[in-house]
Amino acid sequence: MSFYILRRILYAIPIAFGVSVVCFSLVYIAPGDPLQTVMPPDATAETIEIVKKAYGFDKPLPMQFLIWLGRVLTGDFGMSISTRRPVFLEVSEALANTSLLALFAVPLAFFTGYVMGAIAGCFPGRWIDRVVTGAAVIGVSLPNYWLGIVLVIFFAVEYMLLPATGMGPNGSTGFHILEWSSARFLVLPVITLSMIPVGILSRTTRAAVAEVHNQDFVQTLRAKGLSEWAVTRHVLKNSLPQVLAVMGLQFGYLLGGSILVETVFTWPGSGFLLSKAIINRDVPVLQGTILTLSLVFVAINLVVDLLQSLIDPRIRRA
């Protein structure tokens, strides 16, 4: 097992390097100039050259990449162009705020999605399957920014039950998760954010459970005289590796925040930071945020791989 873990970690290193190359290059492929927002509209060509030099944008791209990578390896993600704050600080604060959302959205989405999918998979073709599948399709299809706005209109504007936006009267610094006055700001964004993972997970679980149900060993279990509940337990356990893989991806999605949901709710997380960095073409923040989120994805996939191999030893031998 330890050899398998080591091998998986070694595999993750070239992936992380590839991710760093892609995230560095992506922001340069997009049109626009990172210095537009810090220069006046009538800046002369000379001024533009001076500012480019000051920010290091005058060097060839491969050189810029190597300098950036060298700094990143020592934990220095550079400075934000628009705020002049260290990117590490910007990203870590935003990620902490998004993690708060994920802390509640993950269990809500995973539990609801798994239960819905398992029920539908155990009764394929029955009315309950149709209801659950329909709900899952709606969950996946509804644009979450639209759902967010509708929830705000309904629960905040019309009935004044929950706040419309933000992280509370003092922002993230005054946010106390154990106090309802703060926690109530989480309710609408968490529900909005978890809607798509609920749909995806319930559909995946349904498909996995239905597939395992049709396998020969299930018939054998029934032939042995096991109760339906015991058979279902075996079916659910055997469908878990497939579901886990999708859960890993969705966990990454939730931890990465959502640009649209966080913008609608003005939630100062990684998605909100990314949207502002895109608008301001704040290249260091974009690179730092994308790299951090990508590495989080790589780490989550690594953990999921290891979990899968624990649940199903056949994966380890493959």
Binding site: P31, G32, I48, T83, V157, G166, T266, K276, I279
Partner: protein, 365 residues
């Protein structure tokens, strides 16, 4: 306490206090958390990207302008519907730039909608190097083809029809040619210019500072121009990319016939000169289309050298009238800088400016 929701979090630091900089060991991050200035407000605290709080500077030299609120909180909210919801739920007292389609809802909830014309224009700068707009008749045709009243309806009244560069209340407005809606005249001019259908490409942004509602507004412009004999292609890009096109000049983007970057017009240079002066040709300045005219250049040189106010106003008026006659821009809308605020907000008088005085604002209980 007055809480204001802004559409962006751009707060510029215009000066650095050497004493405070020394106090924080010249560390910009620390300075940004504890800046110092000389205005009527004192910085109190900030949470980056979330809020900025000010308290009155009771020692301000002009006692009449010591703020009347005990605290002013600024919160960035990029999404217009979020700002509207925040105002309707009482989370904030004041929002900047409400969406036009939310105006009726806000009014029905008793909110105040405050507007005033200010020097900020939503128009198109044209390519004078290459393409159909090098012909004055085509430029005039485009201006005659626009029904600006329809545009006003689209924006729920939140604009003033723009028929020339300046608003009529400007001191150097004069008697410019006004391009009132006349599609027949537009078509005749295009025919005369031999450009029918007249294929043009507009570079537009999907959003951006001062861009109002760029997508629906551009779509309406396209439909009106197409109806008059143009064939408009809208090339949309994000705001930053459009600024880059604008900075590069028409030479760098010969395929683009016009760019839709809204421009401030707060002084004669920004309102008039930079659009037509050869000394401001991009990338050196904001004359994107490289408009150049010896007569206008001569006039601009005399404006820049004239220090008698009355004489300078006369010269500026002449320049404004010349620019209108030449149809150097496609004129569409003067922005009204809309704001919505709770009925509790009193004492605000909107200035004809990008900058506003918040010191007299009070909140009734």
């Amino acid at each position: 306490m007055t809480t204001v929701a802004l559409s962006s979090s751009a707060v510029a630091t215009r000066g650095i206090s050497p004493c405070r900089a020394k106090e924080v060991n010249n560390d910009w991050t620390q300075y940004a958390l504890k800046p110092s200035g000389t205005g009527p407000y004192k910085f109190d605290k900030t949470v980056p990207h979330q809020r900025l709080e000010f308290v009155p500077n009771t020692e301000y030299w002009d006692k009449a302008r010591v703020p009347k609120q005990d605290r002013l909180v600024l919160i960035p909210m990029p999404e217009a519907s979020t700002r509207t919801a925040a105002l309707l739920t009482g989370q904030v007292d004041w929002i900047e730039a409400p969406s036009p389609d939310a105006i009726d809802r806000l009014k029905s909830s008793g909110m105040q909608i405050v507007t005033r014309v200010y020097p900020h224009n939503w128009s198109y700068q044209l390519n004078f190097v290459k393409g159909p707009f090098t012909d004055k008749r085509v430029r005039q045709a485009a201006n005659y083809a626009l029904n600006r009243e329809d545009m006003k309806d689209l924006l729920n009244g939140l604009m003033l029809e723009q028929y020339t560069t300046l608003t009529p209340s400007t001191a150097y407005y004069g008697k410019p040619v006004l391009y009132k809606y006349d599609p027949g005249k537009a078509k005749a001019l295009l025919k005369e210019a031999g450009c029918l259908p007249c294929k043009v490409t507009f570079a537009i942004s999907t959003s951006g500072s001062g861009q109002m509602q760029p997508l629906p507004m551009n779509e309406l412009v396209k439909s009106q121009l197409d109806a008059a004999g143009f064939e408009v292609t809208l090339q949309s890009m994000d705001w930053n990319a459009l600024l880059q096109v604008g900075r590069g000049g028409a030479d760098a983007s010969p395929e683009i016939s016009a760019i839709n970057i809204s421009r401030a017009a707060q002084d004669p240079f920004n309102a008039l000169i930079r659009h037509v002066w050869t000394g401001a040709w991009a990338p050196k300045g904001a004359n994107w289309g490289h408009h150049g005219n010896p007569a206008m250049d001569k006039l601009i040189e005399s404006i820049l050298a004239e220090f008698d106010t009355t004489k300078r106003l006369a010269l500026l008026t002449q320049l404004h009238e010349m620019m209108s006659e030449e149809a150097v821009l496609i004129f569409v809308a003067h922005d009204l800088n809309p704001r919505a605020m709770s009925p509790k907000v009193k004492g605000f008088v909107q200035a004809q400016s990008w900058f506003q005085d918040l010191t007299p604002v009070t909140l009734s209980p």
